[in-house]
Amino acid sequence: MDKKKPEQRWRDRWAKASLRDADFTSISGRELQPLYAQVDLAAFDPYTRLGWPGEYPFTRGVHPSMYRGKLWTMRQFSGMGTAEQTNARYKFLLARGQTGLSVAFDNPTLYGRDSDHALAVGEVGRTGVAVDSLADMERLFRDLPLEAISTSMTINAPAAWIFTMFLANAEKRNIPAAGLRGTLQNDILKEYIAQKEWIFPPEPHLRLITDLMAFCADHVPQWNTISISGYHIREAGSTAAQELAFTLADGFAYVEHAIRAGLDIDDFAPRLSFFFNSHLDFFEEVAKLRAARRIWARHMKETYKAGNPRSWMCRFHVQTAGCSLTAQQPEINVVRTALEALAGVLGGCQSLHTNSMDEALALPSEKAVEIALRTQQIIAHESGAANVIDPLGGSYYVEKLTNDLEEEAERYFERIRELGGVVKAIEMGFFQQEITRSAYQYQLALSRGRKILVGVNAFAGRGETLEIPVLEIDESVERDQLRFLAEVKGRRDNAAVRARLEDLRRAASGTENLIPRLLDASRAYATVGEISEALAGVFGEYREQPFY
């Protein structure tokens, strides 16, 4: 019998079929075929393009046993109010089965400012925890077993000195640095591109990142020195392909900077980690995560000539998409988050954060964050999704999307090269304009009803809303934090602080590794803002040209 006959019959019938009046593109606006089939993978060699789990090019996963060996780490990003309040939230989460810590800092801390800075008014402890000095680190991690669990810290511009405060706290508790495990986000390039929390121009920030990579290779070998992040790029409105391409391009830029500084690639590359978004378009997200592993492995091995297989592995954290959550009917956000989390798992993540249903309204309440954690636990222990490695591997659709996303990323890499590299492209506003255009197109599609958000621009009941209780940060938090900061400044040895800051300034003017100086200043209870200002005196500050 002719194998082609049914195919032709289907194609004829498809051509005549009447279709729903709906948009069939992906959430990124990608044109999609109605069916993917043999023809889409005709030239595809699964042996070289997929390999095997734990084997180059790692398309199917970075570990040979994946989730049968070890489940992903369930790590809820959290922080609010004072260090004491956040410490209590960590204990709450650990008691309910969370397996790692993840610190959310407030905006002043993220910008390297103290709580008493003029721009910090109204923002202390609002969207994360306020950390001004080692004294806050001590309160934040009090009674938590830092030698036994891993800690992730989402901090970028002042990452190096937040990390030295973390190290100084461990030192005071006699926990050896070599035993500390965790991740520092420390990804400044995506700050210029998307999240917009910087202090200095790119070059001094890159120096600090390379200094930290070199320091950790010697002293904190189990620490992930950077988490190269697409999450914020996607939240700012990029497409899946832009998130993939811009993130990996940032990764290549860090590698090139460290190599230029004289580091051996296999000394630092095994500690590079990544952080991706998982948005609502399920298959496109799975394909994006698989493509990320294959692209990274190929470039690390072939372009940068890394020899250690660990240098080739794109290990990543996934967070569900905050920007997909709606303020309308917040309870249905649980469903959105569950789908996104499942895509992260089927994409082979190493750790996962599930957003809480109330995050379009406020920081998560205890109830909301517990449901979010339970969502992961159901995927891990009830759904069966963790039983089989890369279960979507071999799907015509997913493999074709993985290939297409890889090609699109390569085209972006070429474009960035033509512009003179990532830093040049940032200064020209290239990434920012690409993202802003995608964000606007998506918003127009929503406004025109071509893209649907259930309960928002479709099926919205008149006047009926599901209200849920939301967490409030009391205005007393700011007062308490300001009082505590004043006390710390009052009881520390201020002459020693001035001397350490002067040492730091001198070192910054030269070329030595700055991490030991930052550690000394942190031990003396120099504040985050004092260190920022000391360094800004040498490095200068960065201003973005506003555009839209």
């Binding site: 905006n107 721009l119 609002r126 939240e235 920007c323 309204l361 406020a362 918003q443 928002v456």
Partner: protein, 135 residues
Amino acid sequence: MAAAKIKVIIAKPGLDGHDRGAKVVARALVEAGMEVVYLGLQQTPESIVRAAVEEDADVIGLSILSGAHLSHFRRVRELMNASGLGERLLTGGGIIPTKDQEKLRALGVGRVFGPGDDLRDIVGYIRDWHSSHSR
């Protein structure tokens, strides 16, 4: 004679890098025929109102996702009133709980928009306000 364009200042006060909404709204207002001055990030209430005076703006729109909306809106409204902009519209958007939206109204802030609101509603709201407050 063509009607004067509605002039809108859009700004991000304080330490808040979430500029997606501000930029999308700025584009939508321009496409709707308004004149937009986008001040960008890390603005203070003082710098925003100073710009509004210099530009003789009809509307100030603040984008705040940092939780600091009460203090920023309050301060900008006070400075507007003290600078002869008492009759101009102060509006905005971000992650702002329903309860706080009522507090903001009491401070003299217009509608504030949030996730899921339609761009056409924002455009319509500013146009309606302008036609009932022409000077």
